[in-house]
Symmetry: C2
Subunit: 314 residues, 2 copies
C-alpha cells in the first residue's frame, strides 16, 4: 500500500481535465457506481464520505473530505481530503492520497469541462465571484479548454481580488464590482454563502454560470429567478437536489427538479447541449466521487512516496 | 497523520469488549451519528463504506472494508479493512489503521456483549457453526465475558474443526455434528451461506444465537422458523433489515421488522432484555461503524508506527 503525500505536484492540468471529462462521459453513459455521498455532522463542520467505482478505468475507492469554515482562523484549510483506492480484483487497499489539493483541481476541471461544452463562445471573458483556492483552480482549468480573453474578479475583500490577479501574470485580470463581473461570458461562483448574491438583473442572455459554491443543504449563490430563466445542468441529479445550487430553491418551491435539463455527463456524450447563443446555462456542481477517482488515476502513474505495510492480519 | 500497520497486536480483549459495549450503549441512547453503510459492487466482491461519529468518545471517521469470497484462493483474506479517523474539531485526517484484524475483533466483541446480556446462563456451552477467523474471535471475546464450559465446533471440513480446537488448549473444545452443536446454550453462526443450515428442530428453548455470518442482502444462516419462535435483537434496525440475518425472511414475507425486539444498545442500557430462561434469543449482527471507531479509540493510545506528511495543500 502506498501513500502519496503531495500528489498534486507536477500534475498536467490538461491531462486532469481530460480524465475528469472521461469520468463524466462514463457517468453520462450510466457506466459508474456512485452512491450519494454521506454527510456526518461535527461540532464545527462536517465530513462527507464518497465511494465510487469506474469499471472502464479499473478504479474504485472512497474520498473522505471535511468542510470546516472556521479552520482558516487557525491556519488550516476549510476543506481537507484523503482518498483511499482499492484493488478492484481483491478489494485490498492499495493507495492512500492526500487529496486536499486534488479536490480543488478536480472541481476546477469539472468547471472547465462545463465551460468547454456550455460557454457561449470559445473566446470568453471570465467573471469570478470569490477569489479563494477554488477560483484559482477554475481559472487554471478553464484557461486550458477555452481562450480566456479577460478575467474580472470580485471578492468581499478588495485586497484579495488584487492579490488573486497577481497569481496570473499572463492573463488580463482585473478586480471589479460584482455587477460588472456578472457581465462576463462565463461567471464562476465559488463562495460559501447562504444568501444569494448574484442578482437576476445582472445576468444577461447567453451567459454560462459555473455554480460551484453550493455543496450542502442551505447553501445558494444565485437569485432563484436566474434558474427560472436558465437551462440547468447538474453533475448528479440526486446530489444536486440534496445539496447543490438548486437545493434551496427546490425546498422553497421556486424550482422543480423536473426542469433540470440534463447532466454534465450527458452533455459530454452529446445527448444534451446548449441550444442557442442566447440561452443562459448553469452548471450546478456538487462534486462527485468519480471525479476523485479520475484524478487519482492520473496521479498513481507517478508512484507514491511512502510504502506502508498492510500485511498484518493477512 | 499516523499509520498503524498492526494495531491489533497486544490489544487487551477485555478492554476491547468494554469499549464496544460502551459504543452500543451510546447507540442505545441515540447519541451517535451513523448513516447506513454504503455498498459498492465489484466484479469478484464488494466494498462497504462506514462513516460514524461518537461525540462522547471524541471520535469520528470511516471504515472501508471489502468482502471478496474468492480471495482465500490467492492467499488473501476474504475481508480486509482500513479505518481513517478525523480530528473532530477541524476534520483533518489524523490516523489510518490497518483494520483487517480489528474488524474480526470488534465483531467478536459484539458477540461477547450479546452473550453477556442475552445468554441463558453465565456458565454456558458454546456451539460454533463455522471455524474460521470470526469463530476464533467470538471464542476469544465471549470467553472474557462468561464462563465457557465447553466448545463444540462444526465445520464443513472436519479437519478445520479439529485444527480450530488446537488454538484453544485451555478450553474444552471438540468437533461435533451440526445438530449437536446447535444444542449448546450459545450458538454462534459465522458462515457466508445463502442457504439456511440451522434447522428449526435443532434449536431448543432457552438458546441464545449470535447470527454473525449474514451481512449482505441474500445471506441467511437460520431457518426462518427459528426467528418466528425467537426474540430478535439487532445491532442496527436499518442495517439488519437491509443485510442482516432477517433480510431474506423479510423480503420473503416470513418475518416482519415490527417483530424486532430491540437493539443490542437498548439491551446494554437496560431498556430491553431476555424475559425468561426459556426464551430463544437471536442477536443479528451486521457490523456497525461505531464498533470500528470504538476499537480504534482503544488502539490509538498505543501510538502509530509511521508518521505521514499531510502538510501539502495546507
Amino acid at each position: 500500500m502506498w501513500y502519496y503525500s503531495n500528489p498534486a505536484s507536477g500534475l498536467d492540468i490538461s491531462e486532469v481535465n481530460d480524465a475528469i471529462e472521461e469520468a463524466f462521459a462514463e457517468h453520462g453513459r450510466g457506466n459508474v457506481q456512485m452512491p450519494p455521498k454521506l454527510y456526518v455532522h461535527l461540532e464545527h463542520g462536517d465530513f462527507r464520505t464518497m465511494p465510487a467505482y469506474i469499471p472502464s478505468l479499473d478504479i474504485a475507492g472512497v474520498k473522505i473530505v471535511n468542510v470546516h469554515p472556521e479552520n482558516p482562523g487557525i491556519g488550516l484549510p476549510t476543506v481537507m481530503a484523503l482518498t483511499v483506492l482499492l484493488d478492484i480484483d481483491t478489494g485490498r487497499p492499495e493507495t492512500i492520497l492526500n487529496a486536499t489539493e486534488l479536490t480543488n483541481m478536480r472541481t476546477g476541471a469539472a468547471g472547465a469541462v462545463a465551460a468547454k461544452y456550455l460557454a457561449p463562445t470559445s473566446h470568453a471573458t471570465l467573471g469570478l465571484v470569490g477569489s479563494g483556492r477554488q477560483a484559482m483552480a477554475q481559472v487554471n482549468a478553464i484557461s486550458r479548454e477555452i481562450h480566456v480573453e479577460k478575467v474580472l474578479v470580485w471578492s468581499r475583500n478588495e485586497k484579495n481580488a488584487a492579490d488573486f490577479c497577481r497569481n496570473f501574470p499572463d492573463i488580463d485580470c482585473t478586480p471589479a464590482e460584482l455587477s460588472r463581473v456578472c457581465e462576463a461570458d462565463i461567471v464562476v461562483t465559488t463562495t460559501p454563502t447562504r444568501k444569494p448574491m448574484i442578482k437576476d438583473e445582472w445576468i444577461g442572455e447567453g451567459t454560462h454560470i459555473n455554480a460551484i459554491g453550493a455543496d450542502a443543504p442551505g447553501k445558494q449563490e444565485l437569485d432563484p429567478a436566474i434558474l427560472a430563466r436558465a437551462e440547468v445542468f447538474v453533475d448528479d441529479p440526486a446530489q444536486a437536489v440534496h445539496s447543490g445550487e438548486i437545493n434551496v430553491p427546490i425546498s422553497q418551491g421556486l424550482y422543480h427538479q423536473d426542469r433540470i435539463k440534463g447532466t454534465l455527463g450527458e452533455v459530454v456524450i452529446g445527448k444534451k447541449k446548449r441550444e442557442s447563443r442566447d440561452e443562459i446555462t448553469v452548471f450546478d456542481s456538487t462534486g462527485l466521487a468519480i471525479q476523485d477517482l479520475a484524478i487519482a488515476k492520473v496521479v498513481i502513474r507517478k508512484g507514491g512516496d511512502i510504502e506502508l505495510d498492510f500485511s498484518s492480519g493477512i
